[in-house]
């Protein structure tokens, strides 16, 4: 079992847990203004998605079109969510 735990993805899991804690802190209201907190929340969340995709779903070894499709989904969805949110603020 130790053999399986001593894998770099254990570090990725720890990073994902730390990022989740940062979301909890940012969402708790102790952070900066609402807009900046929301932008930070969503950017961190989509970064977590990328970490899961590349390292847990093993897309770093996948054929380029598949990896690009996932990366494009992450980037475009993040930008669209932020754009619609931003438009609602103005």
């Amino acid at each position: 079992m130790n053999d399986l735990i001593r894998h770099y993805t254990t570090g990725v899991w720890l990073l994902l847990a730390a990022l989740t804690a940062s979301l909890w802190w940012l969402g708790g209201g102790s952070a900066t203004s609402g807009v900046y907190a929301t932008v930070s929340l969503m950017v961190i969340a989509f970064f977590k998605v990328r970490l899961v995709g590349i390292h847990f779903m093993e897309l770093r070894w996948a054929p380029l079109p598949l990896r690009l499709a996932f990366e494009a989904w992450t980037l475009v969805t993040c930008l669209l969510v932020l754009a619609v949110y931003w438009a609602g603020q103005t």
Binding site: D3, Y8, A21, L23, M57
Partner: protein, 205 residues
């Protein structure tokens, strides 16, 4: 075809034990068509939610304040941990560590069960407090999106049971590894969708 390094017995260290394999799709192509299609549908859900939230921010913020952030955070950690177990289990299958792989898929299943239990408790609390599907737009989206995701979790748990069985019997047929990788990828997608739903529903300001 490009060739890339993968980890084998030495877990990624650039040593003599490192092998090379051709670029590899984790699972059958069909499962990836399904995964990307499902992710597109949920992307649309995210946009619909943010759009209608902007139309009535005060209502959405007031409703969001009634949610329990601790439940959402804990459930996020449960799914992330289950994904980590699935990664280790799949690596175990590749190394023919059958019992260890089955145990790890079993632990991932337990995380999924924990997520489900918390979700049921949360739904129960909300309904008892008078927040139902028809209470307002926020709660309508909350129940539809988390409900659809919950269905994915239940299907994913059934997939994990199949992976436990499959990992115990070992890799016999040429397509067995692709089947296991496809199941693992599906479970990771369940995690991915929740990673976005959590801040969108519980935390956004």
């Amino acid at each position: 075809m490009q060739r890339e390094p993968i980890e084998t017995q030495d877990h990624g260290a650039a040593s003599a034990g490192e092998k090379y394999r051709q670029s590899h799709t984790p699972g059958e192509t069909g499962i990836w068509v399904f995964i990307m299609g499902d992710m597109m549908v949920f992307a649309l859900f995210f946009l619909v939610f943010v759009f209608y939230r902007a139309e009535n921010t005060a209502l959405f913020q007031a409703s969001q304040a009634t949610l329990n952030t601790h439940y959402g955070t804990f459930n996020t950690l449960l799914l992330l941990t289950s994904s980590w177990f699935v990664v280790m289990a799949t690596n175990g299958v590749r190394k023919n560590l059958r019992r260890q792989a089955a145990t790890l898929y079993g632990l991932a299943f337990l995380c999924g069960a924990g997520f489900s239990l918390i979700k049921v408790v949360e739904y129960r609390e909300k309904i008892q407090a008078g927040f139902g599907l028809t209470t307002n737009d926020f709660y309508m989206y909350y129940y539809i999106f988390t409900g659809l995701h919950f269905v994915h979790v239940i299907i994913g748990m059934a997939v994990l049971v199949a992976l436990i069985h499959k990992s115990l019997s070992g890799l016999r047929e040429p397509g067995d590894l692709a089947l296991i990788e496809g199941g693992a990828s599906y479970w990771h997608m369940v995690d991915v969708l929740w990673i976005i739903l959590f801040p969108l529903l519980y935390l956004m300001k």
